[in-house]
């Protein structure tokens, strides 16, 4: 039975449970809802929730566990002799899955009967031919062990699905029956529903937190693995970044300093662009602009935030880079060799960050009470005096928070760097030279035919961890600043 039908059935039971639960308590009080502990609909929700939650939970767990078990059992049964030289059990298993899927589709198209598909003694050539006729991708001749495994795979999955459907419907029905028995007028249905709502919200919050935890853990394990292969001192204090591309030998130099320097240099250029422009734009929008100007200027500015960074990257590569070369390059001041440089990436990244700074600052400036402004105007202050001396100081903690948030974005930005700043890791003060950042190097170390056991690939995780710690530190610092000022100003 397709999954969608199963879900529909459970939902139907839930709806029926809602109606039944509601009418049952109403009948028990003779239709007088004032005698109920809770509103009638809460009794209905109570039944519906007890139908839906356990059965969907079961469904979810089953769907996660079944493939693991089936794969494991089938794989274990493939005889060692069936695995050719240079192949592995995993590769054979993907062949098995492909065959099983092919059989499913062929049966669905009517090219073979279910009996034929499950018949262990079928002619292999015939099966292969029929699968090919059905338009299924079969890499080679289907061999006997693969066909058997595939058949086994299909049967196990089918049985599993059947048991699942029955169990889920049973659980749903049991939930309905059990909760309907509870439906007496004095039953505290509202409290139960409240608890369930809270539970659902807690579950949602935990998903986010657990995911973060999972990400950190995966980073930590791989980072530890990296430091086993490569000395931590050389990583943190090495001033050269030159991974060897060919050999798995120890000729790579993986010092993080040039990458961190590139990251900070580009971020600082970006912030030097984004903070003044964004802040001034926010001040204009919130203090000077008429409602009409504001109503189209603000969305326009926010459109900038929606542009994918790869587009900014193209802008850097095709427009800003050549423009800078024309001014600072050989024909101009002679400071710049090529279009890819810290300046190119930094300027474009700054433009990307303007809407972050301006939008957040605008909200913060608007939140400063009008009474503050009135107080200042009432003393004969001009508009700009009021903004400089009253509004901005009051908004400062929030603005600092916005700036640090923008800094986090700048540090994590990749595409603009790849296209705008080049790929050369370099410790240099010249902003017109090509440099690269931590994120860009993470990408380049993991793309291509990376061997995940080599330090050249594992270094990506150490880099990721470093970045994670830095941005975490930055965010904690931002929170600290915001708290500190808030205490002072409230």
């Amino acid at each position: 039975m397709p999954l969608i039908w199963l879900i529909v059935i459970v939902l139907a039971i839930a709806v029926a449970g809602y109606v039944l639960g509601r009418s049952r308590v109403m009948a028990a009080t003779g239709g007088d809802s004032r005698k109920l502990h809770s509103l009638p609909s809460y009794y209905g929700y109570n039944v519906a929730l007890k139908v839906v939650l356990p059965s969907f939970f079961l469904l979810l767990v089953w769907l996660l566990v079944q493939p693991v078990i089936v794969n494991g059992t089938v794989a274990a049964d493939i005889p060692q002799s069936a695995i050719p030289e240079g192949s592995s059990r995993d590769l054979i298993m993907s062949e098995v899955r492909r065959t099983a899927e092919g059989l499913d589709n062929a049966v669905a198209q009517g090219i073979m009967t279910e009996d034929f598909a499950t018949n262990a003694r079928s002619d292999l050539n015939d099966v292969t031919q029929r699968l090919k006729d059905a338009g299924q991708i079969v890499t080679a001749q289907v061999t006997q062990p693969i066909l058997q495994a595939a058949q086994r795979y299909r049967i196990m999955n089918d049985t599993g699905n059947l048991i699942l459907s029955l169990l889920v419907i049973l659980v749903a029905a049991a939930g309905a029956a059990w909760s309907l028995r509870e439906m007496r007028p004095e039953f505290r249905a509202r409290n139960v529903v409240e608890r369930v709502v809270k539970g659902v919200l807690v579950a949602a919050a935990s998903v986010a937190i657990l995911t973060t935890l999972g990400i950190v853990l995966s980073l930590v394990f791989n980072t530890i693995e990296f430091f086993r292969l490569y000395p931590a001192g050389d990583f943190f204090f090495g001033t050269a970044w030159s991974p060897s591309f060919t050999g798995r030998g120890g000729s790579s130099e993986l010092g993080v300093l040039p990458l961190l320097w590139g990251t900070f240099y580009i971020s600082i250029v970006a912030l030097l662009v984004a903070v003044p422009v964004g802040l001034f734009a926010a001040i204009y929008l919130s203090e000077y602009a008429s409602p009409r100007v504001r109503s189209f200027a603000k969305p326009m500015l926010e459109v900038l935030a929606g542009i994918p960074t790869i587009v900014y990257g193209l802008f850097a590569l095709l427009t800003v880079g050549p423009l800078l070369v024309a001014v600072f390059g050989k024909d101009g001041l002679g400071w710049m060799q090529a279009g890819t440089a810290v300046m190119t990436a930094g300027l474009v990244m700054g433009v990307m960050l303007i809407p972050f700074v301006s939008s957040l600052s605008d909200d913060i400036i608007n939140a400063v009470p009008q009474a503050m402004r009135d107080g200042s105007y009432g003393l004969g202050a001009t508009k700009s005096e009021t903004i400089r001396q009253v509004v901005l100081p009051a908004a400062l903690p929030g603005i600092v928070g916005a700036i640090l948030l923008a800094a986090s974005r700048a540090i994590g930005e990749t595409m603009i760097v790849v296209l705008g700043a080049g790929a050369a890791a370099r410790l240099s003060l010249n902003p017109f030279e090509a440099m690269t950042t931590v994120t860009a190097k993470i990408v380049s170390q993991l793309t291509g035919d990376a061997d995940f056991a080599s330090p050249e690939a594992l270094v990506a995780f150490a880099l990721g961890m470093t970045l994670f710690v830095i941005t975490l530190g930055l965010n904690i610092f931002a929170l600290y600043i915001v708290r500190k000022y808030r205490e002072q100003y409230e």
Partner: protein, 266 residues
């Protein structure tokens, strides 16, 4: 019925008119908030504006220092003269006007700065102090006038927002006084204060009368009777009656005034 004005002395010279308003109309978009108001406010006098909520007291008060300019939809017509000069004249800079006509608001609104910087704000903006010592002196004098010096002198560098409500309002008064205005407008300055703080502010208002012309909006008729020499009664945007405070409270001419002060409308 009410205490006779005890703090206030009723002899005022009639010929020193500070502010004179003629035929003032105020509109908020389509709402006609102030209708045909004529009034002469005297120098070195406390004038009270009383009347039921929404009758336009604040609106009229805000006309006098052009604070209504900050509200887009607000339109003011008619003439308001300060010392014979039309304050709505194109040549008048509202910023300079507001330095001359200070304002204290209903809710204390100290800036998120230290107590010292709050008081020094106006003098700094208008360049009233040449040296740091000058500024220190202005701050101290203003805080003393606002009866806050003793409480605040040891914590001048702490944020003004950390004071109690009554102290904050006195800080706002000190802030307004420090700018050396000629007129002080106060919009229900005691409505957020407890009785003791209220009494302190009332005493302060009476002292301020020595130098300024004070206009105070109040909801409390007792307060109007205690602190003011002149009282104006507003009703539905009209100035119904204006005269000596004692006269208004003991012997009102208009029956709407009488109804209001005896508690029948409001």
């Amino acid at each position: 019925m009410y205490d006779a004005p005890n703090l206030a002395e009723s002899q005022v010279t009639q010929d020193n008119i500070k502010i004179s308003a003629r035929n003032v109309q105020v509109f908020y978009a389509d709402t006609h908030a102030i209708k045909d108001v004529d009034v002469d406010i005297l120098d070195k006098t406390v004038t009270a504006f009383i009347g039921p909520s929404g009758c336009g007291k604040s609106t009229f008060l805000r006309c006098i220092n052009r604070m209504n300019d900050t509200i887009d939809i607000c339109k003011v017509q008619g003439d308001i003269m300060l010392d014979g000069q039309d304050i709505y004249d194109k040549r008048v800079d509202p910023v300079q006007l507001r330095a001359k006509v200070g304002m204290v608001f209903q809710k204390p609104n100290p800036f998120p700065k230290s107590i010292y910087d709050n008081v020094a704000y106006g003098p700094r903006i208008h360049g009233l102090a040449r040296t740091k010592a000058d500024l220190d002196e202005i701050v101290e004098k203003s805080l003393r006038r606002a009866a806050l010096w003793n409480e605040a002198k040891d914590r001048l560098d702490q944020p003004g927002t950390g004071l109690s409500g009554g102290q904050q309002q006195r800080l706002c008064i000190a802030r307004a006084v420090a700018t050396a205005p000629e007129v002080l407008l106060m919009d229900e300055p005691c409505s957020a204060l407890d009785p003791i703080a209220t009494a302190q502010v009332e005493e302060l208002i009476d002292e301020l009368r020595q130098e300024f012309s004070v206009v105070i909006v109040t909801h409390s008729m007792q307060q109007a009777a205690r602190v003011s020499q002149k009282t104006a009664f507003f009703h539905l945007g009209h100035l119904v009656e204006y005269g000596e405070t004692g006269q208004i409270f003991t012997n009102p001419e208009d029956e709407r005034t009488e109804s209001y002060i005896t508690g029948r409308i409001g």
